[in-house]
């Protein structure tokens, strides 16, 4: 019985913790965007400052009619939101929130997270294909183009901290970043370049503005999810937020020293979440300030700029490590 509790308990807590956090991230984004645009944002539902708004949104979406287009491929259409959501949650399985606070602190934690994260494209394409809608199809084609193009530089940039520490285990990477200036984002030149590249490439592989050609509501209405309504729509939205926050967590682990911070070790998870939220806010800030880049420009940027740049960064990191005599030095 206790064994069962220990097996089921932590994943259950984690799953629900992430769910609640992500639900409130929507409120954070809305309030932040509102301030940016000199508005107030949600206020009335749960005064003050609309703290009940995410709950109201969830309930509304739950109660909405679920419409399946007659021409849709029902199996693919219905399965897609789940295929989209599950990998997003799986990412968290290998993410350590504090020392020893991981469901599975794998030796190849980074590889697992990256692999699971890129499965997103399957669900996305299923959404677009199953809807049998021209906008959705175009969007799905864009998504495949874009995510595959950006997955390569994304992985290459994420490998820079790996080369510097000599380990794929996420907790080891964090432990190598002791002290404020030990964070890889403060690693001279290389760290800053890699961090900026990581954020930009992550934006692109997450389909966020300025690289959000996949949903591009002014061209493709809502892109791959144009036919989705009700709870399936909510699942897709949720998956995107979960995925985005997952990548923010990854960035925190790789560049911002994970759970390391002043104060007792028990504060670790707090530092971790704060840093991840900061990264998330950065993404939102960019989102609400930039306009969208065009599809061909995105691909050109990936293959002509980001890919060579990330290879160069990785080689530079390797050269630094080799010159200083081995990883972790």
């Amino acid at each position: 019985m206790t064994d069962l509790l220990w097996t089921v308990g932590p994943p259950f807590l984690l799953l629900n913790g992430v769910l609640i956090l992500v639900t409130y991230l929507t409120l954070l984004e809305r309030k932040f965007a509102a301030r940016l645009q000199s508005r107030v944002g949600p206020y009335e539902v749960g005064r003050p400052h609309g703290w009940l708004q995410p709950i109201a949104d969830a309930v509304k979406l739950l109660l909405k009619e679920d419409i399946v287009p007659t021409a849709a491929d029902r199996l693919v259409y219905n399965l897609a939101p789940i295929v989209f959501l599950v990998p997003a949650f799986l990412m968290y399985a290998a993410i350590p929130f504090a020392r020893g606070w991981a469901l599975a602190d794998l030796d190849i934690g980074l590889v697992f997270v990256l692999a699971v994260s890129s499965l997103e494209v399957v669900g996305l394409f299923m959404c677009g294909w199953g809807s049998n809608n021209k906008y959705a199809l175009l969007s799905a084609m864009r998504a495949v183009n874009q995510i595959i193009s950006y997955e390569v530089p994304f992985i290459l940039v994420a490998l820079v901290p790996v080369v510097l520490t000599g380990s794929l285990r996420l907790s080891t990477i964090v432990d190598a970043q002791q002290g404020l200036l030990g964070w890889f984002v403060f690693y001279p030149v290389l760290g800053q370049l890699a961090f900026v590249a990581f954020v930009v490439v992550a934006l692109a592989s997450e389909n966020r503005i300025p690289f959000d050609i996949v949903e591009a509501e002014s061209e493709l209405v809502a892109g791959f999810r144009v036919e989705y309504s009700g709870m399936k729509f909510a699942l897709i939205q949720l998956a995107e937020f979960v995925h985005l926050f997952g990548v923010a967590c990854l960035g925190t682990l790789l560049f911002l020293g994970g759970w390391l911070g002043p104060g007792p070790a028990a504060l670790g998870p707090v530092w971790f979440v704060l840093k991840a939220l900061l990264l998330f806010l950065l993404v939102i800030w960019i989102r609400w300030s930039f306009i969208r880049i065009r599809v061909d420009q995105i691909l050109a940027l990936s293959w002509k700029v980001f890919l060579p740049a990330s290879v160069a960064l990785l080689l530079a990191a390797a050269a630094v490590v080799a010159a200083s005599g081995g990883a972790g030095a």
Binding site: S218, V221, S289, I291, R294
Partner: protein, 386 residues
């Protein structure tokens, strides 16, 4: 079987898969109710079939059934984003017909209203255009809300002046219906100074952004020849290298007494049109200031006390009046049979002629460019369909 008048276009596949996609009339960036049937090859547009008429309200027939006193406030419903200039065009045509003098003060008030309207209209254009390119849930929406914040201030001014915020009924045959209320001039000065300050912020936000530049430069080029051939006007024409502005070449309503420049760009792309409009903002503000400073005293209408709608009868004849609205040349042709209503009225909508260029420049561009180009044309469908 297709009905008479319908042509079925058959495309040879030739190895390329083509997709016919319907954009509009209900589409987030349709700018009203515009429908484009796009033929795509991948993401590239190879053919475009624009469909208009969804907002047709029989304005020309309506003009024949309403009197010269009634119609000006309806005229504003053609180009509802630039209602002041639409009204102005109609009353100018009627005044030409009846050879009615307009007092100097009314002329200045008209200029002031028209230029404030130009600022408001360009605010709306800038906001919606950025939203087309940047997304309703992104930086474009931020720009949109900033622009609407400024447009709001001008609408407040108009509300104080006329009691209405969108369709004003400010102009009437022989002058204007309202004079400026006490304290209004100072408020207007404050507003335009405020907006002038904001313009620099917009330019910094947009022109300092490489993404904005690559999205607009070299996109949707209207050559000088094409502009001339299609008959575009306004900022589109000036963006293609023609320094043609009715306020300068054919001054009306005392425009010859104001100092202003006619901004011209030669590139003909979306960015050139953007630059022209941004400079027009400043020129419009300059004219508003001059109008406020030099506002002459006197009556605001040469036909005061017109209460009954039957009182204005215009002599037999015909007249054509045109004004430079925010979108270009708006013209009205009036034929009078001597009664209180025109016998025939014809609108020349600036948006209608400008939109005609879309079919020429869209093929070869990506879908994303289509919305950027359409936004840079700045059509108002109330004026296209009338």
């Amino acid at each position: 079987m297709s009905g008479p008048g319908r042509t079925v276009v058959e495309y040879g596949y030739g190895g390329n898969e083509r997709l016919v996609m319907n954009m509009g009339p209900q589409h987030p960036s349709a700018h009203g109710v515009f429908r484009m049937i796009l033929t795509l090859e991948g993401e590239t547009i190879v053919d475009v079939d624009p469909v208009i008429g969804y907002l047709h309200r029989c304005h020309e027939k309506l003009g024949e059934t309403l009197t010269y006193v009634q119609y000006p406030s309806i005229a504003s419903k053609t180009d509802y984003v630039s209602a002041m200039t639409a009204e102005l065009c109609y009353v100018r045509a009627a005044e030409q017909l009846g050879q009615i003098e307009v007092p100097k003060r009314a002329q200045y008030l008209r200029v002031m209203a028209a230029e404030l309207q130009r600022v408001a209209s360009h605010c709306l254009w800038l906001g919606t255009w950025c939203m087309d390119m940047g997304g309703a849930l992104g930086g474009g929406a931020t720009m949109f809300l900033y622009c609407f914040r400024e447009r709001e201030m001008i609408l407040d001014l108009f509300e104080a002046l006329t009691g209405a915020r969108l369709l004003y009924g400010f102009h009437q045959v022989g002058g204007t219906r309202y004079d400026i209320p006490a304290g209004w001039a100072d408020k207007a000065r404050e507003t335009v100074t405020h907006i002038e300050g904001r313009l620099a912020e917009y330019e910094a936000l947009l022109e300092g952004n490489t993404i904005f530049l690559v999205r607009t430069q070299g996109v949707g080029v209207i050559s000088r020849e094409l502009a001339q051939e299609v008959g575009v006007s306004g900022p589109l024409l000036r963006g293609s290298g023609f320094a043609h502005d009715l306020r300068r070449v054919e001054p009306y309503s005392s425009y010859e007494e104001f100092a202003f420049d006619v901004p011209v760009e030669t590139a003909g792309d979306c960015y050139a049109r953007y630059r022209v409009r941004m400079q027009e903002f400043r020129q419009a503000i300059r004219i508003v200031r001059q109008a406020l400073d030099g506002l002459p005293a006197g009556p605001i209408s040469s036909r005061p006390g017109v209460k009954s709608i039957g009182q204005v009868k215009l002599p037999k004849g015909e007249a054509y009046a045109r004004v430079e609205s925010a979108r270009g040349e708006v013209g009205i042709y009036l034929v009078s049979d001597g009664s209180t209503k025109p016998y025939r009225m014809k609108w020349r909508g600036a948006s209608f002629s400008n939109l005609a260029v879309a079919g020429h420049i869209l093929p070869g561009h990506k879908i994303a460019d289509a919305v950027a180009i359409l936004g840079s044309i700045d059509p108002v469908f109330g004026e296209v369909d009338r």
